[in-house]
């Protein structure tokens, strides 16, 4: 059996990867300390070898899922022969063990990119970065091999598997974890750079420039990953909610907030050689929050303290990893941070100050999410109070920070470095302010007697977007041809900020103006929701590849013209014995029509739910635009200086 041999080989290379990682963690570090170039030089090849070993291991597991090798316990528990190919592949990471393997694959992948593209880094820094990266690798490879081995065998393989949770059999969710892990784990690079800089005792503009591309890449992936998860919840859970403040969501949101702060503070280090120790701290915390998130999700401690107490092995292991890495890094930080003298001098009104304020708001917002997420645990363990902290708390405690952030954003972004006068710098923003107020007034006039949420959210969003446009215009010296010659980083900044504005508008308008209708409809009956006439044409039973579906046909018309023909479904997955709802959505720029079919009623009708969701897609469009801004910024030639230098080995050689 070729597949089985492949699995054995994959298991072997995973153990080999652990040994390589251990080697890579120790030898280059000693080499960097003693100045032995040969010892430092092994870091690169070791990183490549470690990545290849884990890649083979991952390929073996993927192959086992695709060929439905039921001699593997993991495949039995999470797959089924009838499952479509896409979900056989995504089943690899749709479970604890496989997703941890993906975790270390990405971890070693980031390490390998540092080896491949980091030729321009100073020798010592590169050796130390790769060594720290390998230490994290050792911890997680050991975690997999000792507590979560995906390659465990069954003595008697069954004929078929138990299927993947049907909720996970969805394109949005198939790609959600890889993106999220690329983000989580990508932050390990910022961590490794921070620890390497602490060992070195030196942080300068060059360091900030080197660490920025990796942080930016991790942040982009995290942004897309969170957006995918939110989008999935929106269309899959059957009522169009997009964010629940669930501990698992918060676990991904906290690193995002800290990584966003880190991106901004690293700019200050790069341009002005200030905020150094704070930036190092943020880099440690960003990855720390990734680890905390991993702990929260994997140990199940938040869902149930008792479940954790019954099976604490994995949770304790991750907690130990968390304590060693974050504790160790913070100790190192306490010892060395003092030596990182700030150089830049700046006035109270300056870009630097605005970025400090940005960091204050983002980090305190992350802190609020952190306290809220852990509070049920703290309250139960410390005070014996069993309580919940849910969306209403977070909405109230978190939103003010985002409002403040939105208010200062365009102003801070347009302020010059070093010293500025508020009045003069803010002048180009007068148009943006007027536009924001006009939109708020318009929204207030259109909606009668409803909450101030939509006008405020709309005003903030327009303020950010128009502010970003005004800033670009200002930078181009108010001349159209010069707009195209602006550095890509300027466009990236404007795109990312506008994306945030668009997301704000989406969230505020959707939350405030959502229309909902719940009723029993008979076949052939029409009803009116928010100006749309909806007709239930029929309901039939349809068999899918691995599910049975009750599919309704519903016609939506407006003013006598057909808008959409939609087919909401209710599915039952017999293998997993689980029902799911598949809402039918007519996507639009200004509104989504969202139809859900429910149960048959005693009188022959069907329970039908209709939602008109204004501006829904703006939420995720904004997130995609933010990530696109990151790509633009990443492609700026100033960040490719290192890459360019590599092309000139003749000149580079004497420098080394």
């Amino acid at each position: 059996m070729l597949s089985r041999m492949f699995v054995e080989f994959g298991h072997f290379t995973l153990s080999l990867a652990l040994m390589i990682a251990a080697f890579q963690a120790v030898v280059p570090l000693v080499g960097a300390q003693k100045g032995w170039r040969g010892w430092m030089a092994v870091a690169g090849p070791a990183a490549t070898a470690q990545f290849l070993c884990i890649a083979i291991s991952f390929a073996a597991l993927t192959n086992a899922f695709v060929t439905s090798d039921f001699s593997l316990r993991l495949v039995v528990q999470n797959s089924h022969t009838l499952k479509p190919l896409l979900y056989k592949v995504s089943g690899v990471w749709g479970n604890h063990e496989g997703s941890m393997l993906l975790w270390v694959l990405i971890l070693s992948g980031f390490g390998a990119t540092a080896a491949w593209f980091g030729a321009a880094l100073p020798e010592r820094l590169r050796a130390r970065v790769l060594s720290v990266q390998a230490m994290i690798g050792v911890a997680f490879l050991a975690f997999i091999l000792f507590t979560s081995n995906p390659f465990l065998r069954l003595v008697e393989p069954p004929f078929d598997g138990q299927d993947l949770n049907p909720l996970l059999q969805d394109p949005g969710l198939a790609f959600h974890p890889p993106f999220l892990y690329l983000g989580y784990v990508g932050l390990s690079m910022a961590f490794s750079f921070a620890v390497a800089a602490l060992i070195e005792g030196r942080v300068d503009a060059a360091w900030a420039r080197w660490v920025r591309p990796w942080t930016l890449a991790a942040w982009m992936f995290l942004t897309v990953g969170i957006a995918l998860g939110s989008w999935w919840a929106y269309y899959e859970l059957g009522w169009g909610g997009f964010w629940f403040w669930d501990p698992v969501e918060n676990a991904s949101f906290m690193p995002w907030l800290v990584a966003t702060a880190l991106l901004h503070s690293a700019i200050v280090v790069e341009k002005r050689e200030a905020l150094k120790s704070w930036t190092i701290l943020l880099a440690i915390l960003a990855f720390g929050f990734s680890l905390i998130g991993t702990f929260i999700v994997r140990s199940g401690i938040i869902t149930s303290v008792h479940a954790f107490a019954n099976d604490p092995e994995r949770g304790i292991f991750i907690l130990a990893i968390l304590a060693v890495f974050i504790g160790g890094a913070l100790t190192l930080f306490a010892a060395r941070a003092g030596s990182m003298e700030a150089k830049g001098v700046f006035g109270t009104v300056s870009r630097e100050s605005a970025l400090v304020l940005n960091n204050v708001l983002l980090s305190v917002a992350a802190f609020v999410v952190f306290v809220g997420t852990l509070w049920p645990l703290i309250a139960e363990l410390a005070f014996g109070r069993k309580l919940s902290v849910g969306a209403p708390f977070f909405n109230q405690a978190f939103t003010p920070f985002m409002v403040m952030l939105a208010l200062i954003l365009p102003l801070g972004a347009i302020l010059p470095w070093k010293r500025a006068t508020l009045g003069r710098s803010a002048r180009p923003l007068r148009g943006a302010l007027a536009l924001a107020i006009a939109f708020a007034a318009l929204a207030f006039a259109v909606q009668t007697g409803r909450s101030a949420l939509a006008p405020i959210g709309l005003a903030l969003g327009v303020w950010i977007i128009a502010g970003a446009a005004a800033e670009l215009w200002q930078r181009a010296g108010r001349q159209v041809p010069r707009l195209t010659r602006l550095p890509r980083a300027d466009w990236g900044k404007a795109a990312a900020h506008s994306g945030l504005g668009i997301t704000f508008i989406g969230i505020a308008c959707l939350t405030a103006w959502d229309i909902e209708d719940i009723r029993v409809a008979k076949i052939g009956e029409s009803f009116d929701v928010g100006g749309y006439e909806i007709t239930l044409d029929g309901v039939e039973r349809v068999e899918g590849p691995n599910f049975i579906s009750t599919t309704a046909t519903m016609r939506v018309t407006k003013d006598g013209r057909e808008v959409a023909l939609l087919h909401p479904e209710k599915r039952v997955y017999p293998v997993a014995a689980m029902p799911t709802t598949e809402a039918a959505i007519d996507n639009g720029v200004w509104r989504d029509l969202y139809l859900v079919i429910g149960d048959p009623q005693a009188d022959g009708g069907w329970a039908v739910r209709t939602y008109v969701k204004p501006f829904a897609n703006w939420i995720w469009a904004g997130a995609i635009l933010m990530a696109f801004g990151g790509i633009l910024s990443l492609s700026d030639r100033r960040y490719r200086v290192a890459a360019g230098a590599r092309k000139m080995p003749a000149i580079a050689a004497p420098a080394e």
Partner: protein, 150 residues
Amino acid sequence: MRWLILALALFAGPAQAVQPDEVLADPVLEARARELSQGLRCLVCRNENIDESNADLARDLRLLVRERLVAGDSDREVIAYLVDRYGEYVLLKPTATGENLVLWIAGPAMLLVALLSAAAYLRRRRSAPDAAPAPLSAEEQARLDEILKE
């Protein structure tokens, strides 16, 4: 145990969120019921409110909330009635009493601390002597030349 209940609730049948037969005839009362439901936790679910939850228990709670409202309870009385029976675990927004004050004050207090530290930092930066950057080492100078030539 809670997991078992959750699993059973899921298998029990595809009842979903608010059903047509639950909706009250009086739109004002119904709106209040919806508002209240969004702040109440479905006890067997993970962080879901009873308004969105598909669990049978959530349906029972939704009906209970509506029953109390029809009986003439105020919003506050309905909440008190549920907390009496199910404990403060049922509230998604914890009350700001006792130890919970820490939860509510944590954010604003941290903001204050952060703003004060930031202000102190900014004051130091403003008055710091404009130190000349440290001269480059020979190695760095060579590296810089090489970058500039690109």
